[in-house]
Symmetry: C2
Protein backbone atom coordinates (compact mmCIF):
# COMPACT_ATOMS: atom_id res chain seq x y z
CA UNK A 1 0.00 0.00 0.00
CA UNK A 2 1.34 3.34 -1.13
CA UNK A 3 1.31 6.43 1.10
CA UNK A 4 0.46 9.81 -0.33
CA UNK A 5 3.45 12.14 -0.36
CA UNK A 6 3.66 15.89 -0.83
CA UNK A 7 5.14 15.31 -4.30
CA UNK A 8 2.77 16.49 -6.95
CA UNK A 9 3.27 13.79 -9.57
CA UNK A 10 0.02 12.36 -10.88
CA UNK A 11 1.02 9.02 -9.45
CA UNK A 12 1.30 10.61 -6.00
CA UNK A 13 -1.83 12.77 -6.06
CA UNK A 14 -3.94 9.79 -7.21
CA UNK A 15 -2.41 7.27 -4.77
CA UNK A 16 -4.67 5.07 -2.65
CA UNK A 17 -4.41 3.40 0.73
CA UNK A 18 -6.37 0.15 0.94
CA UNK A 19 -8.34 0.15 4.20
CA UNK A 20 -10.67 -2.81 3.63
CA UNK A 21 -11.29 -5.63 1.13
CA UNK A 22 -13.02 -3.24 -1.29
CA UNK A 23 -12.38 0.10 0.39
CA UNK A 24 -9.66 2.70 -0.10
CA UNK A 25 -8.74 6.18 1.04
CA UNK A 26 -7.12 8.90 -1.02
CA UNK A 27 -6.19 12.54 -0.50
CA UNK A 28 -7.34 14.87 -3.26
CA UNK A 29 -4.53 17.37 -3.60
CA UNK A 30 -5.39 21.06 -2.95
CA UNK A 31 -3.25 22.17 -5.91
CA UNK A 32 -4.93 19.85 -8.44
CA UNK A 33 -8.01 22.08 -8.44
CA UNK A 34 -9.93 24.74 -10.37
CA UNK A 35 -11.72 27.32 -8.18
CA UNK A 36 -11.15 25.04 -5.22
CA UNK A 37 -12.68 21.96 -6.86
CA UNK A 38 -10.67 18.88 -7.75
CA UNK A 39 -10.79 18.25 -11.50
CA UNK A 40 -13.45 15.67 -12.53
CA UNK A 41 -11.08 13.60 -14.66
CA UNK A 42 -8.65 13.44 -11.74
CA UNK A 43 -11.43 12.04 -9.51
CA UNK A 44 -12.33 9.45 -12.15
CA UNK A 45 -8.65 8.44 -12.45
CA UNK A 46 -8.57 7.79 -8.68
CA UNK A 47 -11.60 5.50 -9.12
CA UNK A 48 -9.87 3.71 -12.03
CA UNK A 49 -6.80 3.04 -9.89
CA UNK A 50 -9.02 1.53 -7.19
CA UNK A 51 -10.81 -0.59 -9.81
CA UNK A 52 -7.47 -1.81 -11.19
CA UNK A 53 -6.42 -2.89 -7.69
CA UNK A 54 -9.45 -5.21 -7.46
CA UNK A 55 -9.66 -6.34 -11.08
CA UNK A 56 -7.78 -9.17 -12.76
CA UNK A 57 -7.20 -6.75 -15.66
CA UNK A 58 -4.76 -3.85 -15.38
CA UNK A 59 -6.12 -1.24 -17.80
CA UNK A 60 -9.28 0.81 -17.77
CA UNK A 61 -10.82 0.72 -21.26
CA UNK A 62 -14.21 2.35 -20.59
CA UNK A 63 -15.24 4.57 -17.69
CA UNK A 64 -18.47 6.49 -17.13
CA UNK A 65 -18.91 8.85 -14.20
CA UNK A 66 -21.92 10.79 -12.96
CA UNK A 67 -20.88 13.66 -10.66
CA UNK A 68 -23.20 14.07 -7.67
CA UNK A 69 -21.58 16.75 -5.49
CA UNK A 70 -18.11 18.26 -5.85
CA UNK A 71 -15.74 17.13 -3.09
CA UNK A 72 -13.26 19.52 -1.52
CA UNK A 73 -9.54 18.71 -1.48
CA UNK A 74 -8.53 16.29 1.26
CA UNK A 75 -9.56 12.87 2.43
CA UNK A 76 -11.97 10.85 0.31
CA UNK A 77 -13.08 7.23 0.49
CA UNK A 78 -13.39 4.92 -2.50
CA UNK A 79 -15.62 1.84 -2.48
CA UNK A 80 -15.49 -0.69 -5.30
CA UNK A 81 -17.85 -3.51 -6.30
CA UNK A 82 -16.86 -6.10 -8.86
CA UNK A 83 -19.93 -6.56 -11.08
CA UNK A 84 -18.51 -9.22 -13.38
CA UNK A 85 -15.12 -10.78 -13.74
CA UNK A 86 -14.59 -12.33 -17.17
CA UNK A 87 -11.65 -13.75 -19.07
CA UNK A 88 -11.07 -10.83 -21.40
CA UNK A 89 -12.57 -8.03 -19.33
CA UNK A 90 -14.08 -7.22 -15.97
CA UNK A 91 -16.62 -4.61 -14.97
CA UNK A 92 -16.71 -2.71 -11.71
CA UNK A 93 -18.64 0.01 -9.98
CA UNK A 94 -16.76 2.59 -7.91
CA UNK A 95 -17.92 5.38 -5.66
CA UNK A 96 -15.97 8.34 -4.33
CA UNK A 97 -17.31 9.66 -1.03
CA UNK A 98 -16.48 12.42 1.41
CA UNK A 99 -17.95 13.15 4.84
CA UNK A 100 -20.24 10.14 4.46
CA UNK A 101 -21.80 11.40 1.22
CA UNK A 102 -21.40 9.99 -2.30
CA UNK A 103 -19.63 12.50 -4.58
CA UNK A 104 -18.98 10.56 -7.79
CA UNK A 105 -20.40 7.25 -8.94
CA UNK A 106 -18.72 5.46 -11.84
CA UNK A 107 -18.85 2.28 -13.88
CA UNK A 108 -15.59 0.92 -15.28
CA UNK A 109 -14.69 -1.79 -17.76
CA UNK A 110 -11.15 -3.11 -17.34
CA UNK A 111 -9.13 -5.18 -19.80
CA UNK A 112 -5.57 -5.62 -21.05
CA UNK A 113 -4.43 -3.23 -23.76
CA UNK A 114 -1.96 -4.53 -26.34
CA UNK A 115 1.21 -2.38 -26.35
CA UNK A 116 1.90 -3.05 -30.04
CA UNK A 117 -1.46 -3.08 -31.87
CA UNK A 118 -2.16 -0.40 -34.46
CA UNK A 119 -5.59 0.85 -35.50
CA UNK A 120 -7.24 -1.24 -38.22
CA UNK A 121 -9.31 1.75 -39.41
CA UNK A 122 -9.47 5.25 -37.97
CA UNK A 123 -10.76 7.43 -40.78
CA UNK A 124 -13.78 8.40 -38.65
CA UNK A 125 -11.60 10.37 -36.22
CA UNK A 126 -10.48 13.96 -36.50
CA UNK A 127 -6.73 14.03 -37.23
CA UNK A 128 -4.13 14.78 -34.57
CA UNK A 129 -2.77 17.57 -36.77
CA UNK A 130 0.92 18.35 -36.95
CA UNK A 131 1.01 21.09 -34.37
CA UNK A 132 4.42 21.00 -32.67
CA UNK A 133 4.88 21.32 -28.90
CA UNK A 134 7.13 24.34 -29.46
CA UNK A 135 4.56 26.05 -31.66
CA UNK A 136 2.13 26.13 -28.71
CA UNK A 137 2.21 28.49 -25.76
CA UNK A 138 1.84 27.45 -22.17
CA UNK A 139 -1.50 28.43 -20.70
CA UNK A 140 -0.98 30.88 -17.86
CA UNK A 141 -2.51 29.60 -14.64
CA UNK A 142 -5.17 32.30 -14.51
CA UNK A 143 -8.66 32.46 -15.95
CA UNK A 144 -9.45 35.50 -18.13
CA UNK A 145 -11.12 37.09 -15.07
CA UNK A 146 -7.93 36.69 -13.05
CA UNK A 147 -8.79 33.68 -10.86
CA UNK A 148 -5.86 31.45 -10.03
CA UNK A 149 -6.11 27.91 -11.52
CA UNK A 150 -3.70 25.93 -9.33
CA UNK A 151 -3.82 22.78 -11.47
CA UNK A 152 -2.25 24.69 -14.37
CA UNK A 153 0.84 25.20 -12.21
CA UNK A 154 1.02 21.40 -11.78
CA UNK A 155 0.48 20.25 -15.34
CA UNK A 156 1.53 22.02 -18.50
CA UNK A 157 -1.27 22.83 -20.95
CA UNK A 158 0.03 24.35 -24.18
CA UNK A 159 -2.46 25.76 -26.69
CA UNK A 160 -2.30 26.33 -30.41
CA UNK A 161 -1.91 30.13 -30.81
CA UNK A 162 -4.98 29.99 -33.10
CA UNK A 163 -7.26 28.95 -30.25
CA UNK A 164 -5.95 30.91 -27.29
CA UNK A 165 -7.67 34.16 -28.23
CA UNK A 166 -10.06 33.70 -25.30
CA UNK A 167 -7.20 34.68 -22.97
CA UNK A 168 -7.36 38.20 -24.43
CA UNK A 169 -11.16 38.22 -24.71
CA UNK A 170 -11.14 37.26 -28.40
CA UNK A 171 -12.45 33.70 -28.71
CA UNK A 172 -12.41 32.31 -32.25
CA UNK A 173 -16.03 31.16 -32.10
CA UNK A 174 -15.11 27.65 -33.30
CA UNK A 175 -15.60 26.11 -29.83
CA UNK A 176 -12.40 24.14 -30.22
CA UNK A 177 -9.12 23.98 -28.26
CA UNK A 178 -6.06 22.14 -29.61
CA UNK A 179 -2.71 21.68 -27.96
CA UNK A 180 -0.54 19.54 -25.73
CA UNK A 181 -0.64 18.33 -22.13
CA UNK A 182 2.32 17.25 -19.99
CA UNK A 183 2.28 15.83 -16.47
CA UNK A 184 4.79 17.23 -13.94
CA UNK A 185 8.46 16.31 -14.55
CA UNK A 186 7.77 14.43 -17.76
CA UNK A 187 5.82 11.66 -16.00
CA UNK A 188 4.52 9.11 -18.53
CA UNK A 189 0.76 8.79 -19.03
CA UNK A 190 -1.03 5.58 -18.05
CA UNK A 191 -4.59 4.41 -18.84
CA UNK A 192 -5.70 5.86 -15.48
CA UNK A 193 -4.07 9.26 -16.00
CA UNK A 194 -5.57 9.42 -19.51
CA UNK A 195 -8.93 9.74 -17.69
CA UNK A 196 -7.49 12.95 -16.27
CA UNK A 197 -6.17 14.00 -19.71
CA UNK A 198 -9.65 13.90 -21.29
CA UNK A 199 -10.79 16.53 -18.76
CA UNK A 200 -7.58 18.54 -18.34
CA UNK A 201 -8.12 21.27 -20.91
CA UNK A 202 -10.19 24.38 -20.21
CA UNK A 203 -13.80 24.10 -21.38
CA UNK A 204 -13.93 24.34 -25.17
CA UNK A 205 -16.74 26.84 -24.61
CA UNK A 206 -14.08 29.40 -23.58
CA UNK A 207 -13.43 29.57 -27.33
CA UNK A 208 -17.05 30.73 -27.73
CA UNK A 209 -17.69 32.92 -24.71
CA UNK A 210 -15.98 33.10 -21.34
CA UNK A 211 -17.97 31.92 -18.34
CA UNK A 212 -17.14 30.83 -14.81
CA UNK A 213 -16.89 27.22 -13.73
CA UNK A 214 -18.36 24.67 -16.19
CA UNK A 215 -18.98 21.69 -13.88
CA UNK A 216 -19.04 18.24 -15.43
CA UNK A 217 -22.31 16.34 -14.93
CA UNK A 218 -21.29 13.17 -16.80
CA UNK A 219 -17.98 12.05 -18.30
CA UNK A 220 -17.42 8.91 -20.38
CA UNK A 221 -13.97 7.96 -21.65
CA UNK A 222 -12.63 5.10 -23.75
CA UNK A 223 -8.93 4.23 -23.56
CA UNK A 224 -7.84 2.67 -26.86
CA UNK A 225 -4.07 2.25 -26.62
CA UNK A 226 -1.09 2.44 -24.28
CA UNK A 227 0.73 5.75 -24.61
CA UNK A 228 4.29 6.34 -25.76
CA UNK A 229 6.20 8.26 -23.07
CA UNK A 230 5.97 12.05 -23.07
CA UNK A 231 3.27 14.66 -23.46
CA UNK A 232 0.01 14.05 -25.31
CA UNK A 233 -1.83 16.05 -27.98
CA UNK A 234 -5.40 17.04 -27.20
CA UNK A 235 -8.41 18.23 -29.13
CA UNK A 236 -11.31 19.42 -26.97
CA UNK A 237 -14.40 20.64 -28.78
CA UNK A 238 -17.93 21.71 -27.95
CA UNK A 239 -20.79 20.26 -29.98
CA UNK A 240 -24.08 21.74 -28.77
CA UNK A 241 -24.80 24.40 -26.15
CA UNK A 242 -28.40 24.93 -25.09
CA UNK A 243 -30.67 25.00 -22.05
CA UNK A 244 -27.63 25.70 -19.83
CA UNK A 245 -25.88 22.48 -20.76
CA UNK A 246 -23.06 21.78 -23.18
CA UNK A 247 -21.54 18.55 -24.46
CA UNK A 248 -17.90 18.36 -25.38
CA UNK A 249 -15.86 15.69 -27.14
CA UNK A 250 -12.18 15.11 -26.42
CA UNK A 251 -9.50 13.19 -28.33
CA UNK A 252 -6.01 12.40 -26.99
CA UNK A 253 -3.05 11.24 -29.12
CA UNK A 254 0.52 10.44 -28.16
CA UNK A 255 3.50 12.08 -29.84
CA UNK A 256 3.53 9.35 -32.52
CA UNK A 257 -0.02 10.34 -33.55
CA UNK A 258 -1.66 7.25 -32.06
CA UNK A 259 -5.15 7.80 -30.65
CA UNK A 260 -5.01 6.93 -26.96
CA UNK A 261 -8.32 8.05 -25.55
CA UNK A 262 -11.57 9.73 -26.48
CA UNK A 263 -14.30 11.09 -24.28
CA UNK A 264 -17.58 12.94 -24.17
CA UNK A 265 -18.90 15.00 -21.32
CA UNK A 266 -22.08 16.82 -20.46
CA UNK A 267 -21.53 19.93 -18.34
CA UNK A 268 -23.60 22.72 -16.81
CA UNK A 269 -22.92 26.24 -18.10
CA UNK A 270 -24.30 29.72 -17.49
CA UNK A 271 -25.09 30.32 -21.13
CA UNK A 272 -27.83 29.22 -23.50
Amino acid sequence: MKELTVATSFDAVSALRQVGPARFEADLHPEWTIVGKPNGGYQLAVLARAAAALSGHPHVVAASAHYLRAPVPGLVTVEVDVLRSGRGASQLRARLGQDGEARVEALLTMSTLDPTGAAYWDAGLPGPGNLAWDACRRLVPRTPDGSRVPIMEQVEVRLDPECEGFIRGRPSGRGELRGWLALPDGEAFTPASLLFAVDAFPPATFDLEFTGWVPTLELTAYVRALPAPGPVRILQRAQLLGARRVDEACFVWDSTGRLLAQATQLAAIRLG
Copy 2:
Protein backbone atom coordinates in the same frame (compact mmCIF):
# COMPACT_ATOMS: atom_id res chain seq x y z
CA MET B 1 -48.94 -0.38 -12.83
CA LYS B 2 -49.06 -1.29 -16.48
CA GLU B 3 -49.21 -4.87 -17.73
CA LEU B 4 -47.19 -5.95 -20.74
CA THR B 5 -49.41 -6.74 -23.69
CA VAL B 6 -48.66 -8.53 -26.93
CA ALA B 7 -48.77 -5.17 -28.69
CA THR B 8 -45.36 -4.26 -29.98
CA SER B 9 -45.38 -0.53 -29.41
CA PHE B 10 -42.23 0.69 -27.70
CA ASP B 11 -44.37 1.83 -24.80
CA ALA B 12 -45.64 -1.75 -24.40
CA VAL B 13 -42.36 -3.62 -24.87
CA SER B 14 -40.61 -1.36 -22.34
CA ALA B 15 -43.44 -1.40 -19.75
CA LEU B 16 -42.67 -2.14 -16.11
CA ARG B 17 -44.56 -3.68 -13.21
CA GLN B 18 -43.52 -2.26 -9.85
CA VAL B 19 -43.03 -5.17 -7.43
CA GLY B 20 -41.29 -3.38 -4.54
CA PRO B 21 -40.32 0.12 -3.39
CA ALA B 22 -37.35 0.18 -5.79
CA ARG B 23 -37.91 -2.99 -7.75
CA PHE B 24 -39.65 -3.67 -11.05
CA GLU B 25 -40.22 -6.47 -13.52
CA ALA B 26 -40.34 -6.21 -17.29
CA ASP B 27 -40.65 -8.62 -20.20
CA LEU B 28 -38.08 -8.15 -22.94
CA HIS B 29 -39.97 -8.84 -26.13
CA PRO B 30 -38.72 -11.73 -28.30
CA GLU B 31 -39.28 -9.72 -31.48
CA TRP B 32 -37.25 -6.68 -30.32
CA THR B 33 -34.03 -8.64 -30.85
CA ILE B 34 -31.02 -9.15 -33.12
CA VAL B 35 -29.76 -12.77 -33.32
CA GLY B 36 -31.88 -13.56 -30.29
CA LYS B 37 -30.46 -10.71 -28.15
CA PRO B 38 -32.55 -7.76 -27.00
CA ASN B 39 -31.10 -4.53 -28.37
CA GLY B 40 -28.82 -2.70 -25.89
CA GLY B 41 -30.54 0.67 -26.27
CA TYR B 42 -33.89 -1.01 -25.61
CA GLN B 43 -32.53 -2.42 -22.33
CA LEU B 44 -31.22 1.01 -21.33
CA ALA B 45 -34.62 2.57 -22.13
CA VAL B 46 -36.28 0.09 -19.75
CA LEU B 47 -33.84 1.21 -17.03
CA ALA B 48 -34.62 4.86 -17.79
CA ARG B 49 -38.34 4.24 -17.38
CA ALA B 50 -37.70 2.63 -14.00
CA ALA B 51 -35.49 5.58 -12.99
CA ALA B 52 -38.21 8.03 -14.05
CA ALA B 53 -40.72 6.22 -11.86
CA LEU B 54 -38.55 6.85 -8.77
CA SER B 55 -37.17 10.28 -9.65
CA GLY B 56 -38.77 13.65 -9.06
CA HIS B 57 -37.68 14.54 -12.62
CA PRO B 58 -39.44 13.05 -15.63
CA HIS B 59 -36.74 13.06 -18.37
CA VAL B 60 -33.51 11.17 -18.70
CA VAL B 61 -30.77 13.62 -19.80
CA ALA B 62 -27.66 11.43 -19.41
CA ALA B 63 -27.42 7.65 -19.24
CA SER B 64 -24.35 5.42 -19.18
CA ALA B 65 -24.63 1.64 -19.36
CA HIS B 66 -22.01 -1.08 -19.05
CA TYR B 67 -23.27 -4.39 -20.50
CA LEU B 68 -22.26 -7.38 -18.40
CA ARG B 69 -24.04 -10.37 -19.98
CA ALA B 70 -26.71 -10.34 -22.68
CA PRO B 71 -30.14 -11.31 -21.33
CA VAL B 72 -32.50 -13.47 -23.35
CA PRO B 73 -36.04 -12.27 -24.13
CA GLY B 74 -38.48 -12.72 -21.29
CA LEU B 75 -38.69 -11.75 -17.65
CA VAL B 76 -36.10 -9.37 -16.23
CA THR B 77 -35.89 -7.55 -12.92
CA VAL B 78 -34.93 -3.91 -12.52
CA GLU B 79 -33.53 -2.48 -9.29
CA VAL B 80 -33.06 1.25 -8.83
CA ASP B 81 -31.11 3.25 -6.23
CA VAL B 82 -31.52 6.99 -5.92
CA LEU B 83 -27.97 8.37 -5.51
CA ARG B 84 -28.89 12.04 -5.17
CA SER B 85 -32.11 13.93 -5.47
CA GLY B 86 -31.58 17.63 -6.21
CA ARG B 87 -33.76 20.52 -7.21
CA GLY B 88 -32.79 20.67 -10.87
CA ALA B 89 -31.69 17.08 -11.40
CA SER B 90 -31.47 13.70 -9.75
CA GLN B 91 -29.06 10.84 -10.26
CA LEU B 92 -29.86 7.17 -10.04
CA ARG B 93 -28.27 3.80 -10.50
CA ALA B 94 -30.25 1.03 -12.17
CA ARG B 95 -29.54 -2.63 -12.72
CA LEU B 96 -31.21 -5.06 -15.10
CA GLY B 97 -31.02 -8.67 -13.93
CA GLN B 98 -32.16 -12.06 -15.14
CA ASP B 99 -32.03 -15.42 -13.39
CA GLY B 100 -30.42 -13.76 -10.37
CA GLU B 101 -27.51 -12.36 -12.38
CA ALA B 102 -26.79 -8.72 -13.23
CA ARG B 103 -27.00 -8.12 -17.01
CA VAL B 104 -26.73 -4.35 -17.40
CA GLU B 105 -25.63 -1.73 -14.88
CA ALA B 106 -26.38 1.91 -15.62
CA LEU B 107 -26.11 5.40 -14.15
CA LEU B 108 -28.76 7.94 -15.07
CA THR B 109 -29.16 11.67 -14.59
CA MET B 110 -32.77 12.85 -14.73
CA SER B 111 -34.04 16.41 -15.17
CA THR B 112 -36.84 18.33 -16.85
CA LEU B 113 -36.35 19.21 -20.50
CA ASP B 114 -37.83 22.46 -21.75
CA PRO B 115 -40.26 21.81 -24.63
CA THR B 116 -39.59 25.18 -26.23
CA GLY B 117 -35.88 25.98 -25.86
CA ALA B 118 -33.70 26.19 -28.97
CA ALA B 119 -29.95 25.55 -29.12
CA TYR B 120 -27.82 28.58 -28.22
CA TRP B 121 -24.90 27.28 -30.35
CA ASP B 122 -24.62 24.01 -32.27
CA ALA B 123 -21.93 24.61 -34.87
CA GLY B 124 -19.85 21.77 -33.36
CA LEU B 125 -22.37 19.15 -34.50
CA PRO B 126 -22.56 17.41 -37.85
CA GLY B 127 -25.64 18.69 -39.69
CA PRO B 128 -28.87 16.70 -39.94
CA GLY B 129 -28.69 16.95 -43.74
CA ASN B 130 -31.78 17.35 -45.87
CA LEU B 131 -32.31 13.73 -46.71
CA ALA B 132 -36.06 13.15 -47.08
CA TRP B 133 -37.88 10.13 -45.60
CA ASP B 134 -39.08 9.18 -49.09
CA ALA B 135 -35.56 9.33 -50.52
CA CYS B 136 -34.50 6.53 -48.16
CA ARG B 137 -35.26 2.85 -48.53
CA ARG B 138 -36.51 0.62 -45.74
CA LEU B 139 -33.88 -1.77 -44.48
CA VAL B 140 -34.95 -5.33 -45.12
CA PRO B 141 -35.09 -7.35 -41.90
CA ARG B 142 -32.19 -9.60 -42.89
CA THR B 143 -28.44 -9.25 -42.40
CA PRO B 144 -26.30 -9.60 -45.55
CA ASP B 145 -25.66 -13.24 -44.59
CA GLY B 146 -29.39 -13.95 -44.49
CA SER B 147 -30.08 -13.96 -40.73
CA ARG B 148 -33.47 -12.66 -39.71
CA VAL B 149 -33.38 -9.45 -37.64
CA PRO B 150 -36.78 -9.43 -35.94
CA ILE B 151 -36.48 -5.91 -34.54
CA MET B 152 -36.38 -4.52 -38.10
CA GLU B 153 -39.90 -5.89 -38.58
CA GLN B 154 -40.99 -3.89 -35.52
CA VAL B 155 -39.36 -0.56 -36.23
CA GLU B 156 -38.73 1.03 -39.59
CA VAL B 157 -35.11 1.87 -40.38
CA ARG B 158 -34.71 3.70 -43.67
CA LEU B 159 -31.23 4.29 -45.08
CA ASP B 160 -29.82 6.85 -47.46
CA PRO B 161 -29.26 4.92 -50.74
CA GLU B 162 -25.63 6.16 -50.60
CA CYS B 163 -24.89 4.14 -47.47
CA GLU B 164 -26.85 0.94 -47.99
CA GLY B 165 -24.26 -0.65 -50.31
CA PHE B 166 -23.36 -3.09 -47.55
CA ILE B 167 -26.64 -4.91 -48.22
CA ARG B 168 -25.22 -5.94 -51.60
CA GLY B 169 -21.68 -6.50 -50.32
CA ARG B 170 -20.47 -3.07 -51.45
CA PRO B 171 -19.89 -0.93 -48.35
CA SER B 172 -18.82 2.63 -49.09
CA GLY B 173 -15.83 2.52 -46.72
CA ARG B 174 -16.90 5.73 -44.97
CA GLY B 175 -18.12 3.90 -41.86
CA GLU B 176 -21.24 6.02 -41.77
CA LEU B 177 -24.99 5.26 -41.93
CA ARG B 178 -27.58 8.01 -42.36
CA GLY B 179 -31.32 7.68 -42.47
CA TRP B 180 -34.56 7.69 -40.53
CA LEU B 181 -36.12 5.64 -37.75
CA ALA B 182 -39.82 5.23 -36.97
CA LEU B 183 -41.43 3.37 -34.10
CA PRO B 184 -44.39 1.07 -34.86
CA ASP B 185 -47.64 2.80 -35.89
CA GLY B 186 -46.15 6.29 -35.78
CA GLU B 187 -45.63 6.21 -32.00
CA ALA B 188 -43.98 9.46 -30.83
CA PHE B 189 -40.48 9.29 -29.37
CA THR B 190 -39.87 10.13 -25.71
CA PRO B 191 -36.60 10.75 -23.83
CA ALA B 192 -36.61 7.05 -22.82
CA SER B 193 -37.20 5.72 -26.33
CA LEU B 194 -34.46 8.03 -27.66
CA LEU B 195 -32.09 5.78 -25.68
CA PHE B 196 -33.28 3.02 -27.98
CA ALA B 197 -32.92 5.28 -31.04
CA VAL B 198 -29.21 5.87 -30.43
CA ASP B 199 -28.62 2.11 -30.73
CA ALA B 200 -31.28 1.20 -33.29
CA PHE B 201 -29.25 1.43 -36.50
CA PRO B 202 -27.06 -1.41 -37.75
CA PRO B 203 -23.41 -1.05 -36.71
CA ALA B 204 -21.77 1.71 -38.76
CA THR B 205 -18.95 -0.78 -39.33
CA PHE B 206 -21.25 -2.61 -41.81
CA ASP B 207 -20.36 0.31 -44.10
CA LEU B 208 -16.69 -0.80 -43.79
CA GLU B 209 -16.85 -4.59 -43.71
CA PHE B 210 -19.67 -6.95 -42.79
CA THR B 211 -19.27 -8.96 -39.60
CA GLY B 212 -21.59 -10.86 -37.29
CA TRP B 213 -22.97 -9.45 -34.06
CA VAL B 214 -21.19 -6.30 -32.76
CA PRO B 215 -22.13 -6.40 -29.06
CA THR B 216 -22.15 -3.13 -27.16
CA LEU B 217 -19.80 -3.00 -24.17
CA GLU B 218 -20.61 0.56 -23.07
CA LEU B 219 -23.24 3.05 -24.25
CA THR B 220 -23.55 6.67 -23.11
CA ALA B 221 -26.36 8.90 -24.36
CA TYR B 222 -27.31 12.51 -23.73
CA VAL B 223 -30.89 13.63 -24.40
CA ARG B 224 -30.91 17.33 -25.27
CA ALA B 225 -34.48 18.14 -26.32
CA LEU B 226 -38.03 16.83 -26.42
CA PRO B 227 -38.89 15.42 -29.85
CA ALA B 228 -41.52 16.66 -32.26
CA PRO B 229 -43.92 13.81 -33.12
CA GLY B 230 -42.95 11.46 -35.93
CA PRO B 231 -39.85 9.65 -37.13
CA VAL B 232 -36.31 10.80 -36.32
CA ARG B 233 -33.23 11.29 -38.49
CA ILE B 234 -30.14 9.38 -37.47
CA LEU B 235 -26.42 9.56 -38.21
CA GLN B 236 -24.43 6.59 -36.90
CA ARG B 237 -20.70 6.63 -37.55
CA ALA B 238 -17.63 4.65 -36.61
CA GLN B 239 -14.56 6.53 -35.41
CA LEU B 240 -11.76 4.04 -34.67
CA LEU B 241 -11.60 0.28 -35.11
CA GLY B 242 -8.66 -1.58 -33.60
CA ALA B 243 -7.79 -4.42 -31.24
CA ARG B 244 -11.25 -5.94 -31.84
CA ARG B 245 -13.09 -2.93 -30.49
CA VAL B 246 -14.84 -0.08 -32.25
CA ASP B 247 -16.34 3.15 -31.01
CA GLU B 248 -19.32 4.70 -32.73
CA ALA B 249 -20.99 8.08 -32.36
CA CYS B 250 -24.70 8.60 -32.98
CA PHE B 251 -26.76 11.77 -33.49
CA VAL B 252 -30.58 11.90 -33.55
CA TRP B 253 -32.64 14.83 -34.88
CA ASP B 254 -36.38 15.28 -35.16
CA SER B 255 -38.08 16.17 -38.43
CA THR B 256 -37.62 19.90 -37.69
CA GLY B 257 -33.82 19.40 -37.61
CA ARG B 258 -33.54 19.81 -33.85
CA LEU B 259 -30.85 17.69 -32.20
CA LEU B 260 -32.57 15.39 -29.73
CA ALA B 261 -29.91 12.97 -28.59
CA GLN B 262 -26.30 12.04 -29.08
CA ALA B 263 -24.41 8.96 -27.97
CA THR B 264 -21.14 7.11 -28.08
CA GLN B 265 -20.65 3.41 -27.71
CA LEU B 266 -17.75 1.01 -27.45
CA ALA B 267 -18.45 -2.39 -28.97
CA ALA B 268 -16.63 -5.66 -29.56
CA ILE B 269 -16.04 -6.67 -33.18
CA ARG B 270 -14.35 -9.52 -35.02
CA LEU B 271 -12.10 -7.23 -37.03
CA GLY B 272 -8.96 -5.25 -36.31
